[in-house]
């Protein structure tokens, strides 16, 4: 009788421990590789070279900046990482939002990691400006990451310093 109860206790303990290890497996850390500033710079902005790249080339590639400072010697670009080449539908937006919410709530980031990997292959950096804020609202709200690119030019319009900061999330 006693032996049987010890055995059942052991069984319960074993089940409990396996459940615990399963939970530990399910709770992962977010993979930041594909959204880190160094990766994004190398993937989408390799042409930014201090002392070499010209202002015109940057504007040609990126478009008009989100903001200008000190009479235009400093340009600011607010960039968001989104799916390339198409506007997302409301349904897609809702799916992204639900998946993101679920991932952060349950601390299981499988879906987020997969999206980040996919964006690294097929995504793009979209410039957010006053002019396109409304038009690109769904893209802005469902962005995977947001960056601030600041470019400083000399009086010859050559890039002297630049910095790319991830500001969100």
């Amino acid at each position: 009788m006693r032996k049987a109860s010890v055995r059942s206790c052991c069984r319960i303990l074993l089940i409990f421990l396996s459940l615990l290890s399963l939970m530990a497996c399910a709770h992962g850390n977010l993979d930041e590789t594909f959204v880190s500033a160094p990766y994004v710079r190398e993937r989408w902005l390799p042409y930014l070279v201090d002392g070499k790249t010209e202002r015109n080339e940057i504007i040609q590639r990126l478009g008009e900046p989100s903001s200008k400072f000190q009479s235009g010697t400093i340009l600011g670009y607010r960039l968001i990482l989104v799916e390339e080449g198409r506007d997302i539908s409301e349904e897609e937006y809702r799916i992204i939002l639900v998946n993101l919410e679920t991932a952060y709530l349950n601390r299981y980031f499988g879906w987020v990691d997969e999206r980040r990997k996919l964006l690294s292959e097929k995504g793009t950096l979209l410039i957010v400006k006053e002019q396109n804020k409304e038009e690109k609202l769904l893209e802005i709200l469902s962005r995977e990451a947001e960056y601030s690119l600041v470019l400083v030019f000399d009086d010859q319009d050559i890039l002297t310093t630049n910095s790319l900061r991830r500001i969100m999330p």
Binding site: S67, Q70, G76, Y147, S148, V150, V152, R165
Partner: protein, 146 residues
């Protein structure tokens, strides 16, 4: 009598709990906290350095004389429970880093303000220093020229 009893039971079995926590980030902008702004020195740091280290500000005022950076931290969690239903969530606290520059684009003042349990940006007037509020500064421009 039974209905009244049931009503009283429902009324008194509902509850609201607020659990304060150490401030931590959930979503949203990367905080411009002490660690990130340690490089900032009054009368020394330039606007260029600020932009390169902190990125574009969320608000630009007074013809680029004032920058405002805003971020949110979770300060507590609330839980509301009633008969057969319940809800809960984080309570956010907004933070504002306000930086002012002099005529030579050098930092002349900086401070962090917290807005308790509200995500609303404080009125522009309250972000200005006393000198600015007295009308010695140029008028506010909500966005940098683009």
């Amino acid at each position: 009598m039974k209905i009244l009893l049931a009503f009283l039971l429902i009324l008194f079995s509902s509850a609201c709990v607020v659990i304060p926590t150490p401030e931590h980030r959930d979503h949203g902008r990367v905080p411009c906290d002490d660690e990130k702004t340690a490089f900032m020195v009054k009368d020394t740091t330039t606007k260029e350095e600020i932009l390169l280290k902190l990125g574009e500000p969320d608000l630009v005022l007074n013809q680029e004389r004032t920058f405002v950076y805003r971020w949110e931290m979770v300060a507590a969690y609330f839980f509301v429970g009633g008969y057969g239903a319940g809800a809960g969530g984080p309570i956010q606290r907004s933070h504002f880093l306000i930086i002012e520059f002099d005529d030579n684009n050098i930092v002349s003042r900086h401070e962090v303000r917290e807005s308790v349990f509200t995500s609303r940006t404080p009125p522009v007037e309250t972000l200005k220093s006393p000198q600015q509020s007295s009308g010695t500064m140029p008028p506010a421009s909500p966005k940098p020229s683009s």
